[in-house]
């Protein structure tokens, strides 16, 4: 195996190719998570992956690690139970925006209050992908979805404020900014206490298509155009990506 492909060691290769749509951002995040673990020389035993339900919720099952696919919204209490029962384990969560902020929102509030030493990677595609493209808690104002045909009237959740209010690690990146996203995940994994990485990601099939994007490349380019890296502020503006420790 060539050096660049060694991250594949962290995946169950007999389960590839994955079943996500061509152009979906989920695969990019899967690879980034593997690269971060490789960078930090994580052992496959000793690391546990947890996901909730959704397209992104399928992530856990692809890792060549012990992994748990929880009920919808329940990844965090399960992950906390694992960590607190065996503090030696590295416990990572990869799940969706609907799963973590919608149905599981109360758990996020309290997991961050408890500052449990786990790393959460949110594949934040601003949509309920798996169920066909309904509005999610991160859907932008006036954005059109299956359930907001005249545009979303509710303000998206301020994840940064929620996580940083409890002095936890918060990072935001996108599936376009690969090096930056990798840095965010790597630092999050090294952080002691709860760390949260929100990765803006594209769902072409059940979101982008409905908003006039021709393909996922166009969605990635919109991340390139929208988000600027901010390396030295304690608050990220809505069009900035960075790390708040």
């Amino acid at each position: 195996m060539t050096k660049e492909l060694t991250y594949l060691n962290y995946l169950k290769q007999d389960r590839l190719p994955h079943q996500w749509c061509p152009g979906c951002g989920n695969g990019i995040v899967l690879k980034l998570a593997c690269q971060a673990m490789e960078k930090l020389n994580f052992l496959k035993t000793g690391t546990v992956m947890v996901s909730g339900i959704g397209c992104s919720g399928r992530s856990a099952g692809f890792f060549d690690l012990d992994s748990v696919h929880t009920a919808h919204g329940r990844a965090l209490p399960v992950a906390e139970g694992i960590k607190l029962a065996n503090e030696k384990l590295n416990v990572m969560v990869i799940s969706g925006d609907g799963d973590l902020f919608g149905i599981g929102g109360n758990h996020l509030l309290h997991a961050s209050r408890r500052n449990t030493d786990i790393t959460i990677i949110c594949i934040s595609n601003a949509i309920y992908g798996m169920t066909g493209g309904q509005c999610s808690p991160t859907t932008e104002l006036s954005s059109r979805t299956l359930t907001t045909p005249r545009g979303n009237v509710d303000t998206p959740i301020n994840v940064q404020a929620l996580i940083t209010a409890h002095n936890c690690f918060y990072a935001r990146s996108t599936t376009y900014h690969l090096n930056h996203a990798l840095k965010c995940i790597t630092e999050a994994l090294q952080h002691k206490g709860l760390s949260f990485v929100e990765i803006k990601s594209q769902c072409i099939t059940n979101d982008g298509r409905r908003r006039g994007f021709k393909n996922s490349y166009e969605m990635l380019m919109s991340y390139k155009d929208t988000y600027k890296i901010n390396n030295n502020s304690s608050v990220l503006e809505h069009d900035e990506i960075g790390i708040i420790k």
Binding site: D66, V68, A71, L84, A85
Partner: protein, 339 residues
């Protein structure tokens, strides 16, 4: 063996510690809170007070998979919240003990009064097919003993076992002998040692298989067979024969204690493992012309009994948390007369 005056809930907590409990997560609720209160003082148990019962049951799913013998305790409203995850734990084959100290429902009902309204919820509360093992003791000594059995059955069956109680039995104080019952060890390897995938999706060999009915049928059959096999070790029931009566009273939990007073006039059968139902009742029932099920709900176990016995069964509901023997007598006289 030492004798001790214990409250029912306290007995559950102390027995759980002896049965190997390492991890407890719960949310306060009357009449179950004393279990949480007792456990926070135990040095060998990690105790978490979570944000709700959904978080509690999910935290113990995580802790159990990570290798800790785990338990939660609640009452009807919390038990309702846990249902989705109970089905999930059956599907992922996670050993858990879930204590449900029943109170009068539906909804917030009468929080301090006993009821037996969660019998069906134990068996059918989650969606899909699953085959829970459920124990329902009727004294402090039995709560103590069956806490051990619940932990052992959970380990042996790799499933969430329900220990039912009610606010009456759980709040009783009785002197019991603190016996040491045998303890089953963990067989499931803890998380972090392999590359298994635990999922609530229909699965085979750690892989989701979501469009093959054959795989699903096999999985459900496996769950059913396993539960039946393990439950055979716990055929617990009480039968008080009465050669002079042709009426058999079926009762359990708090109510059964009052019904003991009628044993001069009637035979009494009391299941302790209420699910899967103990088959023995089929033979016992044959000896009696009339079967009367009494329970503190509007008719739950009676339907299961009728289904098992394939015959008509009389029913006396006791509602509102108060057990009145006069009321029971009046109804029993009517049944006697009808014959």
């Amino acid at each position: 063996m030492t004798k001790k005056l214990l409250q029912g809930n306290q007995a559950i907590a102390l027995a759980a510690v002896k049965a190997g409990l390492n991890f407890f997560a719960g949310y306060p609720i009357t009449p179950a809170s004393e279990i949480l209160h007792e456990l926070v003082n135990q040095k060998t148990v990690k105790v978490l007070q979570m944000e709700d019962e959904i978080a509690s049951v999910n935290a113990i799913i995580g802790s159990s998979l990570a290798g800790a013998k785990s338990m939660t305790a609640t009452s009807g409203p919390g038990f309702s919240l846990m249902q989705e995850s109970i089905g999930h734990a059956h599907m992922m084959e996670v050993p858990l003990v879930i204590v449900n100290v029943q109170r009068v429902g539906p909804s917030t009902g009468m929080p301090t009064f006993p009821a037996q309204g969660d019998i069906m919820q134990c068996k059918y509360g989650s969606h899909g097919d699953y085959f829970p093992i459920v124990f329902y003791p009727n004294s402090v000594a039995e709560l103590y003993e069956f806490t051990f059995h619940a932990f052992n059955a959970a380990e042996e069956s790799l499933s969430p076992v329900i220990l039912l109680s009610d606010s009456y039995v759980s709040h009783l104080y009785e002197t019991i002998e603190e016996a040491d019952y045998p303890v089953s060890n963990r067989t499931l390897a803890p998380l972090g040692t392999s590359n298994r995938h635990f999922t609530g999706l229909t699965h085979k060999d750690s892989r989701p298989v979501t469009s093959d009915p054959g795989v699903h049928k096999k999985l459900i059959k496996h769950l059913e067979t396993k539960q039946k096999k393990v439950s055979r070790k716990y055929n617990n029931y009480e039968y008080i024969e009465n050669k002079y009566s042709d009426i058999l009273l079926i009762t359990y939990g708090a109510l059964s204690r009052a019904v003991y007073d009628l044993k001069e006039d009637f035979a009494i059968y009391r299941p302790v493992r209420i699910f899967p139902m103990v088959d023995k009742i089929k033979n016992i029932a044959k000896k009696y012309k009339e079967i009367v099920v009494m329970e503190m709900n509007a008719g739950q176990y009676v339907n299961e009994i009728e289904r098992l016995l394939h015959r008509e069964v009389n029913f006396i509901p006791i509602l509102g948390g108060k057990i009145d023997l006069n009321e029971i007598w009046t109804k029993l006289r009517r049944i006697k007369k009808k014959r």
